[in-house]
Amino acid sequence: MASSGNGRPIRGIWPGALLLLLALLAPLALNQYYQSFLLQVFIAIALAQAWNLISGMTGYVSFGHAAFFGVGAYVGALFLTWGVPWWFAVFSGAAIAALLAVPLGMLTLRLRGPYFAIAMLGLNEVGRIMATLWVSVTGGGSGITLSPKLLPSLGVEYFSALVLAFGATLLVARIYRSRFGLELRAIREDEEAAEMMGVNTTLNKVIVFVLSALIPGAVGAVYAMYTTYIDPDSAFAGARNIEMIVMVLFGGSGTVWGPLIGAGLIMIMREMLWAQFPAAHLALLGVLLLVVVLYLPGGVVSLARRQRYLRPDARKSGEAPPP
């Protein structure tokens, strides 16, 4: 197997390539309904990986990250109504979300763990309130409706979402193996000690925060194109916030495959429940989250990893290793 700089082998190249291939070919075989479903799965994957970057890898658990998605959705929709090409709208969604993330990150990342989480908790709501109040720009409660003339085809939207999902996953994988990722994980483990080891914690945190905002920004714009109508409740839906968090924790926070698996499984579950029982779906997510937090903090991925990284002498015999 190929090896990377820090001694960990790259797993999952072949399964990953296979999935990508299937995803690319899917539109040929599937009808619109399933394409739409996959599109939503891709959106979920991209969001999950973005959350994974700041919360899973760096340890700054953000409870309101869906706000960036909402920003991207509105920015994308607005730009589209002004007649720009769709890719520019997506790009703008990402850019504006990232721009907002800079001052926001510099302010909130100063706070330690739980305080950061609390500060971010209200962000999504703030977004929703602002979208409702800023009527001149956002259309307030009536939202923004996009006429089909302005929009690309479902196929284009599908591929955009796929590119974003794949790109986000690739980004996480790349970062994970890089020096930057190592420093992020060190920050997660013990920020003060990392600081002592020469890691520039502030710069690293802000960079990853911006990256984690940029992706939802882009994805939000794609979402707006796909649904053709957004309003404060759909753009800043609380449910999306919850799903982002549970998908990553359930799948395996801080890993590359975890968010992917978590997003996939939960989207399937959602598909079965949401249409009829949205509340049941969310309640189940709550239960899932609780179970994961209490009994399986490493997520689904940790089930496969249990046996790895033990001490050499622990594996040789059944007895307790010498101290």
Binding site: L111, A119, I129, T132, P297
Partner: protein
């Protein structure tokens, strides 16, 4: 501005104080849990809603006056909280704070959605009390007055409990230093369960009061929990009296901002205050610096 008349200002002030009393009752409970076991209970507002919906049910199906219902609901939720602590929270007290945040976040999601399944997203209210007290040019609604007064009474009552009684002092001892309290013979686990039960009861009481003055739905908790955070961070995490003042302060600020700017901006105050205070002083404006 036509608003700057003494009568109107006084009315706003009183309205704010009464609303703030409710916030204080709720926030003090949350703060109590944090102080005793360093757990941030994100499901606290949903405990309040349990009280509110229970009141609604008893009112609509049995015609019970909310104040009477409270006599049943509050103790019942105390017991609920007590066992909830035992079954769930005890498992996360030793873990990092984020674990308890996530766990209680999960519980709040579960509660909200069970609420939606049972009661749907329709707004409910309990218009059991009507009328207003009139003093000259000022009219204060009766339900608000009662809610405010009861809230203050309960909050002060709990404060007295913590200050004066032996059990209350044991609770405070555990808040200060759990290990030492344990060595001194205090059953720390029991105290934690008691504290959580008490906090839940306070939340439920706030819920009963809530039901008579506002309309609510299972998702109402989201706003309230934000306000609680703003309050306890302003007042100082773990500082009981700080949360009391903070709650009242928030109520008054909301009242004035709501009148002078807009009600929606009034609603947004809590978020803005929260972020501002967090950035200026994570340890709160009053109270001793803590964890």
């Amino acid at each position: 501005m036509e608003l700057l008349q003494p009568d109107i200002l006084l009315q706003l002030l009183i309205g704010g104080l009464l609303a703030g009393a409710l916030y204080a009752l709720l926030a003090c409970g949350l703060n109590l849990v944090f102080g005793v076991m360093r757990v941030i209970n994100l499901a606290h507002a949903e405990l309040m809603l349990i009280g509110a919906f229970a009141t609604w049910v008893l009112y609509n199906f049995f015609g019970l006056n909310p104040l009477v219902s409270a006599l049943f609901i509050v103790p019942a939720v105390f017991v609920l909280g007590y066992y909830f602590q035992r079954v769930l929270i005890e498992r996360v007290v030793d873990r990092p704070m984020l674990t308890s945040l996530l766990a209680t976040y999960a519980v709040s999601i579960i509660l909200i959605n069970i609420g939606l399944l049972v009661f749907s997203a329709d707004f409910r209210s309990v218009p059991a009390l009507q009328g207003s007290f009139v003093f000259g040019n000022i009219a204060i609604s009766e339900p608000r007055t009662i809610a405010g007064v009861v809230s203050v009474a309960l909050t002060v009552g709990v404060y007295q409990f913590l200050e004066r009684t032996r059990l209350g002092k044991a609770v405070r001892a555990v808040s200060e230093h759990a290990q030492v309290a344990g060595i001194c013979g205090i059953d720390v686990r029991q105290i934690r369960m008691l504290a959580f039960g008490l906090a839940s009861a306070m939340a439920a009481a706030a819920g009963v009061m809530l039901s008579i003055i506002y309309s609510f739905w299972p998702g109402s908790g989201v706003d309230f929990i934000q306000k609680c955070f703003a309050i306890i961070i302003i007042g100082g995490m773990g500082n009981f009296v700080g949360a009391l003042y903070g709650g009242i302060l928030l109520g008054v600020v909301e009242s004035f901002v709501g009148a002078f700017i807009s009600t929606q901006w009034g609603e947004a105050m809590a978020y803005l205050l929260l972020v501002t205070v967090l950035l200026i002083r994570p340890t709160g404006l009053k109270g001793a610096p803590r964890g």
